[in-house]
Every structure is written in C-alpha cells, then in structure tokens.
C-alpha cells in the first residue's frame, strides 16, 4: 500500500491524535496528517491539499460531519477521497444519511486499531 496523506476532522484535539495513532497502529503508512476542527475548516483543507483519506467526526460545532459530507459532493476537486465517519453517536439515521451522501464507512467510538484497520484498509486498496 502506498503512503497515505490523511485528513482528520474532529473538534477534539485529543481525538485527532488518537485517530492518528490508531491509523499508524492499524499499519497504515501515513505520509502526512492534516487536521481540521470542524467541517468548514476541513473543506478549506481539502480545497488546498490533495488527500487520500478523510476520517470525520459527526457532532462538531460550526459545521458538523454530515454537512461536510454533503458539501464535499459539490466540491470541484480532481479526486474524491474516501470519507470514514467516526463518532459516538449510535444514530442509524446519521449513518444512513452520511453513507447516502458519499461517506464510505462508519466507526463508532470507542474503537480499537483493529476496527480502524478493518474499515479503512479495504477503502485504500480499492482502485479509483
């Protein structure tokens, strides 16, 4: 697997660090990790930086993860990275909404590196 440039979107800096560590523990070779604390910031990051993977919280101030996924669909970028939602919310309607707007997976907190591996690696191995 190639090196991956990932964007981690979460309003908690602790969670962003934990997600990054879990990605590394899952065996994902990260070339760079970009961070954003809400969906609006993340859209700005994606406009300016090509990324191969996005992990995104749902419940965030300013712009939540569901709105971010919706707005990502309208973004004019050459290659659309897979988005995996990471959240404490067990709401099935949130999952369905995120998936229907283009998210490719869903991990519920608390999570183990094995769960990250199981959900993320197949997405990275898929051909564009």
């Amino acid at each position: 697997m190639n090196k991956v440039r990932a964007l981690i979107v979460d309003d908690s800096s602790v969670m962003r660090k934990i997600v990054e560590r879990s990605l590394r523990q899952a065996g994902i070779d990260l070339s760079q990790v970009l961070e954003a604390s809400n969906g609006a910031e993340a859209l700005g990051v994606v406009r300016d930086n090509p990324v191969e993977l996005i992990l995104c919280d749902i419940n965030m101030p300013v712009m939540d993860g569901l709105e971010f996924v919706r707005q990502m669909q309208a973004l004019d970028i050459p290659k659309r990275p897979p988005i995996v939602m990471i959240t404490t919310e067990g709401s099935e309607s949130h999952v369905v909404e995120a998936l229907s707007h283009g998210a490719r997976g869903y991990i519920r907190k608390p999570f183990t590196p094995d769960q990250v591996r199981e959900h993320v690696i197949p997405l990275l191995e898929q051909k564009p």
């Binding site: 908690s12 800096s13 602790v14 934990i18 965030m60 101030p61 919310e89 067990g90 709401s91 608390p110």
Partner: protein, 155 residues
C-alpha cells in the same frame, strides 16, 4: 440490549459503558471502589447533555491528578506533556461513555442526541439537572483514584 425504560439496569450498564471506554481508549481497567463513600474530589467535572427520548446530563468527576493520568494514557505521552490536553481528554471520555451507554439501550439511537462536552474546573459549585428522579451513580477506581459517574434524567 436493554429496554431504555428499564431504569433498574442503568447503573450496571453505566459501569459497563465506562469500563469499555477506559479499557479501549485509555488502556486501563476500572475497578470497584473499595469503599462506596470513596467519592473523588471534584477537581474536574465533565458533562454531556442528552436530549430526546432520554433527557438529562451524564457527568464524570475526578481529581486533577486522575484526569492528567487519563490524558497521558489516552495520548501515550508522559503526564507532564498531557497537562494541556486534560480538559479535552476528560470531555471526550465523558462523551464516549454517554454514547456507549446510549448504544446499550434499545431504540435510543435515533431518538436521543448528545451535546458536545462541557468541562468545569473546581468544586465550589451547585449542579442541578432538573431530573425527576434520583441520579444513577457509580464510583469506580481508576489507577487507585476514584472517579464518579452520575446520570440524571427526567422523563
């Protein structure tokens, strides 16, 4: 999965939810308090609101030292490097316990939302959640320090 109106089951479910969060995200097992009166000093209180079919507040109280140790273990850094992340770490733990507890109650997923966490430093405050019954409480030991979980709900 437990029915959401079965309040008698909430206390063990709350302990289970907290235990799973600590084991997976902090890397520590929580133990029972040797003495039920072993309430922690409330240096830090993190709270997450619940709204919808279940309305109320879930809070976790602990000492500053326990909170620093939690942040340190969550991040895999020394305690002196974890100090600046303590508020965020305790807030996230509370958030994950609330979410994990909610997921163990049947039918709540789409009908109960969580707020973002709020964290208070200090103990000189009075907290009122407008609950219509007594709180569901648990005191558990984290690395030798007591932590107190409290769930106050109203119908």
């Amino acid at each position: 999965m437990t029915q959401s109106n079965d309040r008698a089951s909430w206390q063990p479910l709350l302990e289970l939810a907290a235990g799973e969060v600590f084991e997976i995200m902090v890397g520590c097992k929580l133990g029972p308090a040797a003495n039920p009166d072993d309430a922690p000093s409330s240096d830090l209180t993190a709270m997450v609101g619940l709204a919808g079919q279940l309305c109320g507040v879930l809070s976790i109280r602990c000492s500053t030292q326990a909170a620093i140790l939690m942040a340190s273990k969550m991040l895999g850094v020394d305690t002196d490097q974890a100090n600046s992340q303590v508020w965020d770490a305790v807030g996230e733990i509370c958030n994950m316990i609330a979410g994990n507890f909610k997921s163990k109650l049947a039918g709540l997923g789409d009908h109960c939302m969580l707020s973002v966490p709020t964290v208070i430093r200090g103990s000189d405050y009075t907290f009122r959640a407008l609950s219509d019954s007594g709180p569901v409480e648990a005191i558990l030991m984290f690395e030798g320090s007591p932590i107190q979980l409290s769930l106050e709900v109203h119908s």
